[in-house]
Amino acid sequence: MNAIWLTMFILGILTFGIRLSFIVILDRWQAPPIIQRSLRFVPIAVLSAIIVPELVMPGGILNISPTNLRLLTGIVAMLVAWKTKNIVWTIVAGMGVLLVLQYFF
């Protein structure tokens, strides 16, 4: 077995272990209330941490100005998401705005 297969198998097991970790741990161990209260912030914090860099630093370069089309589009998408609470509308509106902006600028 060559190195790439070995790497794959070990990393596959480790990745599965990471994903299973707290599902098993929190089963056996009664977490203190502060941990339990903190869990509701996990999706909010993680999603924000993924989204904001995508918007303000497209291609890895910080750009907070109207020349950043993804930032403009993201702001529109946030308004649509807030108003409609609907994923499909948010995507349709966002992609529409982005493609139109890309076409003209």
Binding site: G12, S21, A45, V46, I51
Partner: protein, 226 residues
């Protein structure tokens, strides 16, 4: 059983918008893996065994420059560490399931499946079959990741970057995030996590996500007390 089936298909349906962004990503991965010197079988197997987009991208790039296996394993491990947060977050919701369910759902616990499934777990309805929704979302993502890898590997085709389909991922996450910002602590957690993620964007291996998430959580907890 009927409800389980409904939940399952509901999960697939809600995962569909994310797939628009995931499929081009999978195709690019397939092409990149071949150009890095992996065989077709290796490229496809990695999508099945590791099943983690960002880590796979990094691995094939490291493989291309002849990086030692140990370094690749550690790198992939660190890139995937953020999934521990997801594990903790879904843990209370899957606690009552049997070990087989926990095993399958853990294998399927990617960023994209997590984002959709956890949003559903926080919805107010009292469905007892939300794990079927999680399974539907996870399998929809898994299947399209495998197929898009295969399309990249075997056909060598890719979606033109000018279509900007990668942006649909961010848009889906916006659609999931914004309605969940219902109180001050949530809003502050979101703003601080977003700001920290940008400030620490220079960190390698996506560690900025972990740092930002932890700070966001702490800010949320702290503002809850006031």
């Amino acid at each position: 059983m009927q409800t389980a089936k409904i939940e399952f298909f509901h999960g697939i349906k809600d995962e569909l918008p994310i797939l628009v962004g995931v499929i081009p990503f999978g195709m690019i991965y397939g092409i990149l893996a071949l150009s890095a010197g992996l065989s077709k079988a290796e490229a496809q197997a990695m999508s099945v065994i590791v099943f983690a987009g960002s880590a796979q991208f990094m691995l094939v790039q490291l493989a291309a420059v002849g990086t030692p296996a140990l370094v690749m394993i550690i790198t992939g491990f660190v890139v995937n560490l953020r999934h521990a947060l997801y594990s903790a977050s879904v843990a209370p919701h899957v606690q009552k399931l049997n070990p087989l369910w926990k095993t399958i759902l853990s294998y399927l616990l990617t960023d994209e499946a997590y984002a959709v499934a956890i949003t559903h777990y926080y919805r107010k309805d009292k469905s007892r079959y939300k794990h079927w929704y999680f399974l539907g979302a996870g399998l929809a993502l898994w299947t399209s990741w495998q197929i898009s890898t295969a399309v990249g590997v075997f056909l060598g085709t890719q979606v033109p970057p000018s279509w900007s389909l990668d942006f649909t991922l961010a848009l889906t996450f916006i659609a999931l995030l914004i309605p969940s910002l219902k109180d001050h602590p949530s809003l502050l957690a979101a703003i601080s996590a977003g700001a920290v993620a940008v400030l620490t964007a220079g960190l390698p291996y996506k560690l900025n996500l972990i740092v930002a998430a932890i700070i966001g959580i702490v800010v949320g907890l702290w503002s809850e007390k006031k």
